[in-house]
Amino acid sequence: MTTTETLTADELFSRTLRLDSRSNPYPLYERMLELPPTRMSDGTWLISRHEDIKRLLHDPRISANRLDPDAPDPGEAKAPASFLVQDAPSHDRLRRLVMDQFVPRVIGMRDHLDDLVGSLLDAHVNDGPGQLDVVNDLAYPLPVTVICELLGVPQEDEPIFGEFARKLTRGLDPVEEPDEAEIRELTQVRNALIDYLNGLIEEKTRTPGDDLLSAFMPTDPDVDRLGPLDLRATLALLLIAGHETTVNLIANGLLTLLRNPDALARLRNEPALATTLVEEVLRYDPPVQMTARSTTADIEIGGVLVPAGSALRVMLAAGNRDADVFADADRFVPDRPNNAHLGFGGGVHYCVGAMLARAEAQIALTALARRLDNPRLVADPPPYRDNAVLRGPEHLLVSFDRLHK
């Protein structure tokens, strides 16, 4: 791509989805930031600027309904949509039921996370030179173990729904021409996941434990609870989110640190830096690159009138590089003050797992910085996964001189 080339919103967006843009979509986002809200040929609107995104995430005239023609027909599919794509009041009720159980379990978990990270790295302790695949060895197993423990899902079942999660996440990407075979496969995976979750729910109904899933099914009949279909949709959401987001936060974070050795050295010497550093990763290279919304009324966004009933493509990762909001937007600044990034979205749908994701990433990155001597990227850029929405490396091979105990 040359800088003189003029690209339309359509071209920019479809290039973003292409696999050859995966390792660095940011030049495309930079071009998007030059555009006001723009209607693309499929009728959806491209929204990239920070101010516009922040504003619409907090606007009452916005719905989480994606207006996605490819979405499975709720009448046919065996699962309703999760609260991720629902609006108030049902969204608010489901979200509250989840938060009430989820948050207290996450608070006070740091010591346990420390232990988990410690033992995952201990398996590779080496007094001499060695190599680590940070995705397979830490970034993936850490959040997966945590979400399985929280929900009370047996560890040995992990590969089953790890596979579900991988396939279903690919289905989140906007596609220009839906492939019949792919849609069929997705439906099959979805139905297989539903069968699996039904079994799990039955099991927990018979023998409840001290876990989140059991807590979602209180024995007191007077307590508000998730209905069976909502319960399944919520479980699927938490499992997939637990598998496919934090992994990218940790992997993108370490990749960024290896490309910014000063920041890595600072983190090694001052672990307290982890707090703002992880926020900066969420800005600089966020695990969730884009989301979607629709308008319920005519609404002016960035000086453009967007009519009621429009589907919006919300480019969170582009807004995170908006020079109107972030000084030196393309630079990684580990102690960036007032970091109003869009990495966790915003408004009523602000990431439910933000607290957990932050803790996991802070602890994992600090441990890597402390324990690895002279870590180096084996390949730059590393190989990326297909996904454009939940974007991150497939593998992140790091060679080192020594991995400390």
């Binding site: 922040k54 504003r55 907090h58 606007d59 009452p60 005239r61 916005i62 719905s63 309904n65 609006d87 108030a88 009041p89 608010d92 319920t296 009324a297 005519d298 002016e300 009621a308 408004g347 009523v348 602000y350």
Partner: protein, 425 residues
């Protein structure tokens, strides 16, 4: 400009001091406060402090920077001489200034009968010391607490008492708690919330007499009934601390001290008093979004932003307007309430999301075909969107069509006791 004096050492005073330094003022800075305490945060006093979650040792305001000021605390300003450019203090001292920031705030409106106010167990709640005394009385486990006045402070106190498991009677002159700030239509939800929480709520009722020998033991109400109570909290609103400005020539009365949109103090003839600025709860000024009457706000956020604007204009001789959209919040009875704009300016109201009966809703206020305010109860996350609508002067009723909106738009009278009360809360 070599010497700047700030009168008032609470939120607005402290933030003004910090902002003056941020703006580059390098001269001599003096902050005068009548309380002996370093600047502290007031919102927790009627919430976490009463319920015992937080002690008043922990309400000191964080310092955002070093201000290098002389702090004259525990000594009130008693007079202002604009010709000599001096502030007079209660101990006889005089402090000279080139620039002055007036941030003396307000105080609780006292019970009108001094002998009754002096009964043990009768409290007001404005400062740290008030909160400590009231907390001690509540912690001792009184038989019943009488809260006189159901505005925000009164309602928060009643909520704190219920949290402590205390019996509470709340008397309120209006049709519903907080009716003068929110209008009777919207405030109705609060009556339901309070009754459900076990408050003995007496609406349309005032207290005629507080009775007791040494200690309060009974109150007589306007409906002829009596309430036995050993603790009473007078929550009848606030009066401005302007007495020290008497004779100064500034335009000031019990409603506040008047400044222009750029925070410059005005004299009684309406001209600008050179180098004198006003910020925080004591300020009354013409808000560009709400023409027709002067606005005074007892809002935390306003104290901060008005202090900054005043400091900027004082240091640079600038003309920055203080036109930030008013906003406040309250927590009570497990309910989160947030407001943007000026509800009291409106005369019509429409529910745009949720419903009053669910205690989860957004209400939008309008006047003369313009959207002027929004109040969100247990629904804070979309209020920024409403704030933009208000700032943009969107027609009323606005078209929202929210997914949790009502099936039919219904615009009703907001039911403010008197229209156009400029002071809210």
């Amino acid at each position: 400009m070599n010497r700047i004096v700030i009168v008032g050492a609470s939120l607005a005073g402290l933030r003004a001091a910090e902002a003056l330094r941020d703006e580059g003022f390098a001269g001599e800075l003096t902050v005068i406060g009548d309380e002996p305490h370093a600047p502290y945060d007031r919102p927790p006093l009627s919430k976490a402090v009463l319920s015992g979650w937080l002690s008043t040792d922990h309400v000191t305001l964080p310092r955002l920077r070093d201000v290098d000021a002389t702090w004259l605390l525990g000594v009130a300003a008693t007079g202002l001489d604009l010709r000599e450019r001096q502030v007079r203090l209660a101990d006889g001292r005089r402090v000279a200034f080139d620039g002055l920031v007036i941030a003396t705030g307000t105080r609780a409106r006292p019970w009108p009968v001094p002998a009754e106010a002096a009964l043990r167990g009768v409290h007001v709640l404005r400062g740290r010391d008030d909160a400590d005394r009231l907390r001690a009385d509540l912690a001792a486990g009184p038989e019943r607490v009488l809260v006189i006045g159901g505005g925000f402070t009164g309602s928060e106190v009643a909520g704190g008492c219920r949290e402590l498991g205390l019996d509470v009677t709340l008397t309120h002159r209006g049709a519903a708690p907080m009716s003068s700030a929110l209008g009777g239509t919207v405030a109705r939800f609060a009556a339901d919330v309070q009754r459900k929480a076990g408050v003995d709520l007496r609406l349309g009722t005032t207290v005629s007499k507080l009775d007791g020998t040494g200690r309060l033991h009974r109150a007589w109400l306007s409906d002829g009934t009596a309430v036995d109570a050993d603790v009473a909290v007078i929550a009848l609103g606030a009066v401005s601390n302007v007495e020290w400005l008497a004779g100064s020539g500034l335009m000031a009365d019990a409603r506040g001290a008047v400044c222009d949109t750029t925070c410059r103090a005005l004299t009684a003839d309406g001209s600008v008093a050179d180098g004198v600025f006003i910020a925080g709860d004591v300020a009354r000024w013409p808000h560009p979004l709400y023409p027709g009457d002067l606005v005074r706000l007892d809002h935390w956020g306003n104290a901060v932003s008005q202090a900054k604007t005043a400091a900027h204009n004082l240091v640079h001789g600038g003309h920055r307007r203080h036109d930030e959209l008013p906003a406040f919040w309250s927590n009570q009875f497990g309910v989160n309430l947030k407001s943007v704009g000026l509800p009291t300016y409106g005369d019509e109201v429409m529910i745009t999301q949720g419903s009053l009966s669910d205690t989860k809703f957004v209400a939008v206020y309008g006047r003369d075909g313009r959207t002027v305010a929004a109040v969100a109860v247990n629904a804070p996350r979309q209020l920024d969107g409403y704030a933009e609508l208000i700032t943009a002067g969107t027609p009323f009723p606005p078209s929202i069509n929210a997914p949790d909106g009502p099936a039919y738009q219904s615009i009703v009278d907001a039911e403010f006791p008197q229209p156009l009360v400029a002071a809210v809360r």
